[in-house]
């Protein structure tokens, strides 16, 4: 579906992506994790055409899209839900969602309304505030809106940059479920960037760990979860972090993973 070869991207003089090779199959959910500043957002940005790579190639369904700008990539069905939500702040929630379907409004006008209903159903929280300007929503509500808007695009490849950011645990679960369902039922290909390795790998088919602009480890979720190298590279030395007891330190309630 999407094939990335030796991708190099720069921000000005800063060499951020240093040769990424990645292949994503149709209907697959791939998680990309990595520490702060490792280039995750840059990678998604490059795939979506926001940044142009200096070197390497991106091939989508046998078609080279390496140097196509966002404008040409979006209509092909590749959609990015960006970092920091980027909602249209002075536009109502409803119109925000509808604008998500902009690139296909001429082609299938009829289905848009149905999709809109579906998306609103997925986020009951948003249902109460459809006429409010998007910028007045709470952080998490904005995040839902951004995701919802991405879903409205009905893309073939959906990329999400830290979708769980700012969302309550309960909602994160829902979202992950929705993503999984999208893969399974609609055959959408999903690339998911997450800070939280566990949460991401839980839903993903496969995962890659990005460090300093390179993919250092990749494999199926199960493999990664149990790969000691990953544990070390990613969590630092003590992988027991999740076992940190409560501050009061009296009782070990924590045995179950929270997220």
């Amino acid at each position: 579906m999407l094939k990335v070869n030796n991708l190099h991207t720069y921000h000005g003089f800063l060499h951020v992506l240093k040769g990424i090779d990645l292949e994503v199959l149709e209907g697959e959910l791939v998680a990309i994790v990595g520490s702060n500043g490792s280039g995750k957002s840059t990678l998604l940005g490059t795939l979506a055409g926001v940044y142009l790579p200096k070197e390497g190639s991106i091939i989508y369904k046998d078609e080279e899209i390496t140097n196509d700008g966002v404008q040409m990539i979006v209509p092909k069905g590749i959609c990015l839900v960006p970092e920091r939500r980027q909602i249209f702040s002075s536009i109502t929630v409803k119109d925000n969602l509808l604008l998500g379907a902009y690139h296909r409004y001429q082609k299938d006008k009829k289905t848009i309304n149905k999709d809109y209903e579906d998306v609103v159903e997925m986020f009951p929280r948003l249902k109460q505030m459809l006429d409010r300007p998007g910028g007045l929503l709470s952080g998490g509500e904005q995040q839902m809106l951004a995701i919802g808007r991405g879903l409205m695009a009905k893309p073939k490849v959906l990329m999400l940059d830290e979708p769980s950011l700012g969302l309550a645990p309960l909602i994160v679960k829902d979202i992950m479920m929705i993503l999984r369902k999208l893969c399974d039922e609609m055959g959408t290909t999903i690339i998911l960037v997450e800070q939280n390795l566990k949460a991401a790998l839980k839903v993903a088919d496969r995962g890659c760990v990005l460090a300093h602009g390179k993919i250092v480890v990749s494999g199926t979720s199960q493999e990664l979860l149990h790969n000691p190298k990953v544990q070390e590279a990613y969590f630092g030395k003590s992988s027991k972090k999740t076992e940190v007891p409560f501050n009061t330190g009296k009782k070990e309630v924590r045995g179950k993973k929270l997220i």
Binding site: G12, S35, G37, S138, G139, G166, V244, F246
Partner: protein, 263 residues
Amino acid sequence: MTRENVILKVDNLTKQFGGVIAVNEVSFDVKKGEIFAVIGPNGAGKTTLFNMITGVLPSTSGQVVFENHKLTGKKPYQIAKIGVTRTFQNLEVFSNMTVIENVMTGAHLTMKTNLFTAGLRLPMVVKEERKTMEKAMECLERVGIAHLAYKMSPTLPYGSQRLLEIARAAASNPKLILLDEPMAGLNSEESRQLIEVILKMREDGLTFVFVEHDMETVMSMSDRIVVMDNGVKIGEGTPEEVYQNPKIVAAYLGDEEEDTVYA
């Protein structure tokens, strides 16, 4: 809990936006040196609560008292002067400055230079600048982004910008810092380091109130927690008390039993 210990007192605070009651008669006390968490589902009113405490939004009713100062009705800069600063959920770094200047601006209140002494660049100004710069560097080192000091702040990755905001808030020698989702965008290792930073600052006498959705952080860092839902306070207590309260678990955490791996 003795009264002298209470540093921040939130009393029946309410905020109404048109028809929406975002915060509904919320009250709680924060003790000196405490790390206090506010949790709750999205849209519960946590950020709005912070906005009222720091004066960004006027409250509809109720009041906030910090030490002996009534904060209600004061402007943010006045509240900062009293010793309360904050970070922002949606990141508000000064994008036209380098990282270190951001932090030096954070130290604004600790400085005395005025228009005329600055214009004439009296020796005391130079001295103060130097001191502030050292202080700013120290703050950056603390949160671990000193190596980025001379970069323009918008080029920092998201996570580092969060750290920058915390360093900036700390630079003003506040007594209380409010953190709105400090861990968002940090991975577990990074959050852990930040927790340590915060715990260390607490030892220096700082008090923290923070909002966070990352339960690991909340559970491991906070002394006490207030839980909000739909603008109302639905619970309060130590992490374990909260964690065992079925009402809270249902409203916020979800049923923990099924620990499904979806894939």
